[in-house]
Symmetry: C2
Amino acid sequence: MISIVILGTGNVAKHLFDAFMTQNGIEIIQLYGRTQNALSYFNNQVNTTTDLSKIKTADIYLVAISDDAISEVSKFLVGKKGLIVHTSGSIPMSALPHKHRRGVFYPLQTFSANRKVNFKEIPICIEVENEEDNELLNELASAISDNVIQIDNDQRKALHLAAVFANNFTNHMYHTAQEICLQNDVSFELLFPLIKETASKIQDLSPLDAQTGPARRSDTGTLEKHLTQLKNKKHKKIYTLLSESIRKTYGKKL
Amino acid sequence: MISIVILGTGNVAKHLFDAFMTQNGIEIIQLYGRTQNALSYFNNQVNTTTDLSKIKTADIYLVAISDDAISEVSKFLVGKKGLIVHTSGSIPMSALPHKHRRGVFYPLQTFSANRKVNFKEIPICIEVENEEDNELLNELASAISDNVIQIDNDQRKALHLAAVFANNFTNHMYHTAQEICLQNDVSFELLFPLIKETASKIQDLSPLDAQTGPARRSDTGTLEKHLTQLKNKKHKKIYTLLSESIRKTYGKKL
């Protein structure tokens, strides 16, 4: 049995909480949040506190809070014997208290308030300072995921950056597509099957080979027509830069 | 029974051919391709020809060829009584022969050589010049898809443009993410669950509300760190422009 304290009440904390609650080998002995209001979801399920000086003793402290607060909040864990880990992709392990057992537990997924995720397939990227903590953190991660990997700080930072392209920027492309649909009185939902297929395809075909469209074909006629069609300056800029980037990728200049 | 002749041997033609072949109410009476080689997939299944002067008489001629060739190839259908339609999202119906029954049959999906698609959910956008052809083209489309809609030329052009963002540019984001992974010795496959969830999420949550990440939060610290991390100039440019665009979307300037 691994005992854990979760610090945080946001989407990551909530999803991890739900996932661990269903595991027999893991006991969440406490959950910390800044306000009683933030704790409402957890109150009836587990011991909670808003007081950082009242954190219980546990095998692992899971600091699942915003990047900016990790360093400050984890100072309150100074003196604890357990393993202290944060869940951030972009913050180094060294942000946690020195001379303590520490590590990182980074689930590579986007978490939203009202969407269930299948933790079994979510990669959990772990890192520990002391080799002897590896087994413990691996056991915790393996309880909820079939995809646990050990990566170092540089690799995790790279993954986090790659995720900005694969998730944040991709979502912004969806948003732009929706704006174009709205401006032209067509339903954005018509694009759902295309969006789904685009995301699925790359599991069989590398994105380099999967690329299609006017920029890939260097079809300057269509590229020019599209630029004329776009009324929004922001859309034009994105269209121009990404088309140029695609053409450069395939060895042709605009 | 609707009889059709398909002109074209590319991915769209092949996928439509496969879909229609399984329908009892549709008879493909001929398939045209430019070379015998291109026809090899079809030869044993249907009458084929490489000679545009030998096109048989049919209810519908489906011109599923590259945009640039639609006008030229469809000239060979002058004098035919049937309905002539092309499958392009960006070419107007008027590219087909004048004084003929004509229309557009645009399946909104990305088609790859070795991937099966579920036609039932693919939107097929139809347009006809003469109202009386509407029923016929609708019957053809409904034979393979549960999602047939009538849209005009401007709407179709807008959808095609929106699809460039939702498919072509999104795929380029995947490619860039893969490059970053390769450069940092982490597996691109670790991003697959994230990519899948990003694409699924927008069916419940509009992309405007689904947006996350440092640009959305105006987290300048992370934005700067990411720009330092990126070694490739092309990646830097994309990162800067899209982060700026996201921040403008949410009312904050870089």
